[in-house]
């Protein structure tokens, strides 16, 4: 399934300036990631490695980097994050956030002090959106379509939400093989999107137990909506709540 990635660079846009070349490079990077890591492409490194056609040494070196990071998240989450969510090798749960985080870093390297990169609702915010203006990210209310549950705000933070999709793949609890059902949605906020996104996936798979788990993680906070409409948040989440 395709994912749309958008870049929001207010400073460049307002001055009608900026580095168009870096946006091209970021675009090329994302297309390269898709070509290399998509489990839906038979000729991607992930697909070929997954079915044993090529050894890891013949894959892009980034695959080994991703696999090491996935193994780390899997270990930290007690196996609730997995690179085999559907039985076959598929590191997408980490790759998407990682690719977006890297794209944001490319803009930083090119001189942008404030931008956000949004990959289908998983967002890396860098700096401010403008002088004295922190980024504002709405968290969709999973039970009331079209409404927001709340707004998080800040500088230099990442937001990722896992939930029950109305169609398509569900997040599976790797320990039971059944779709995770304890929560309607769970949002994790952290500094960098790669781990933030992967932790959101793992915590959602845990269900209600994900609360204590995220509480135990340094630098990450969570907000969740239960199927019955109850909400909870970890103790440090309030730092991200919009005051107005």
């Amino acid at each position: 399934m395709g994912t749309v990635v958008s870049f929001d660079v207010p400073d460049w846009a307002s001055r009608d300036s900026g580095d168009g070349a870096v946006l091209d490079r970021a675009r090329q990077w994302l297309h390269w990631v898709d070509a290399t890591f998509s489990p839906y492409r038979d000729d991607s490194d992930v697909s070929r490695f997954g079915r044993g056609s090529i050894p890891l040494a013949e894959c892009a070196p980034e695959l080994a980097e991703v696999m090491a990071a996935c193994a780390d998240v899997s270990a930290r989450s007690g196996g609730y994050f997995t690179t085999r969510p559907g039985g076959r090798f598929d590191p997408s749960g980490y790759v998407k956030g990682w690719a977006i985080e890297r794209a944001a870093a490319m803009l930083t390297a090119a001189g942008s002090a404030g931008h956000s990169v949004n990959g289908g609702g998983d967002i890396q915010c860098v700096g401010d959106r403008g002088p004295g203006q922190p980024w504002r990210v709405g968290i969709a209310d999973p039970l009331r379509p079209g409404s927001l549950a709340l707004v998080v705000t800040g500088q230099d933070f990442a937001v990722a939400t896992s939930g029950i999709a109305e169609r398509g793949a569900h997040i599976v609890n790797p320990h039971t093989g059944q779709p995770a059902a304890g929560l309607a949605s769970l949002t994790v906020v952290g500094a960098r999107l790669a781990t933030t996104d992967a932790y959101a996936t793992a915590a959602f798979a845990m269900g209600p137990a994900g609360r204590d788990w995220v509480e135990s993680l340094d630098g990450y906070e969570a907000f969740a909506v239960t199927p019955g409409g109850q909400v909870w948040q970890t103790s440090g989440f309030r730092a991200y709540l919009a005051s107005a």
């Binding site: 399934m1 395709g2 994912t3 749309v4 990635v5 958008s6 870049f7 929001d8 660079v9 207010p10 460049w12 846009a13 307002s14 946006l23 970021a26 675009r27 994302l30 297309h31 990631v33 898709d34 998509s38 969510p85 598929d90 997408s92 749960g93 998407k96 956000s116 949004n118 990959g119 289908g120 609702g121 998983d122 967002i123 959106r129 980024w135 504002r136 990210v137 709405g138 968290i139 969709a140 209310d141 999973p142 379509p145 079209g146 409404s147 927001l148 707004v151 937001v159 990722a160 939400t161 896992s162 939930g163 029950i164 999709a165 109305e166 169609r167 793949a169 997040i171 949002t187 996936t201």
Partner: protein, 159 residues
């Protein structure tokens, strides 16, 4: 991707680029039509064909009813695996006042269900995002890459 998620960008000025992981090059240029006070403007200047789609949301007749200060911005056609999707924004004072779906897949019952439920929801979320003065929305939602792609192209060129 494991999750199906929606992103609607509420701030409008800063969007500078767009891509899809599975990119299909858009085939239709963005067209903008400005409203002129009182008298309606009916030239769409878009080469896309409007399609009547099921559901209760407004379809592609919006351009004819522009009032003073309104501008219609037609997004590029986004080719999805289900078929082409195209949306149009009506903008006034740098604010989206209306979103219409010009074209969407209608090949199957499922497509029609999407038209009846998903698009009105996405439109609602677009307007909500704007009203909350937020930069983005994080959440799991319908498969909506086509809608977002076309919406984004309209935003990129029009606001």
């Amino acid at each position: 991707m494991r999750r199906v998620v929606l992103a609607v960008t509420g701030t409008i000025a800063g969007l500078v680029a767009l891509l899809s992981f599975k990119s299909h090059d858009p085939t239709t240029p963005v067209a903008a039509t400005s409203g002129t006070g009182g008298s309606s403007t009916s030239s769409t200047s878009s080469s896309s064909s409007s399609t009547t789609v099921p559901g209760e949301f407004p379809t592609g007749s919006a351009v004819g009813g522009l009032t003073a200060g309104e501008t219609a911005i037609t997004g590029k056609v986004a080719d999805t695996v289900y078929g082409p999707v195209q949306i149009r924004l009506i903008v006034k004072s740098h604010k989206i006042v209306k979103v219409t779906v010009l074209e969407q897949p209608t090949n199957t019952i499922h497509d029609i269900q999407i038209g009846e439920f998903a698009f009105p929801r996405l439109i609602s979320e677009t307007l909500t995002a704007q009203d909350a003065k937020i930069d983005a929305v994080s959440g799991a939602s319908y498969t909506s890459a086509g809608y977002i792609s076309s919406l984004q192209s309209a935003l990129d060129h029009g606001l």
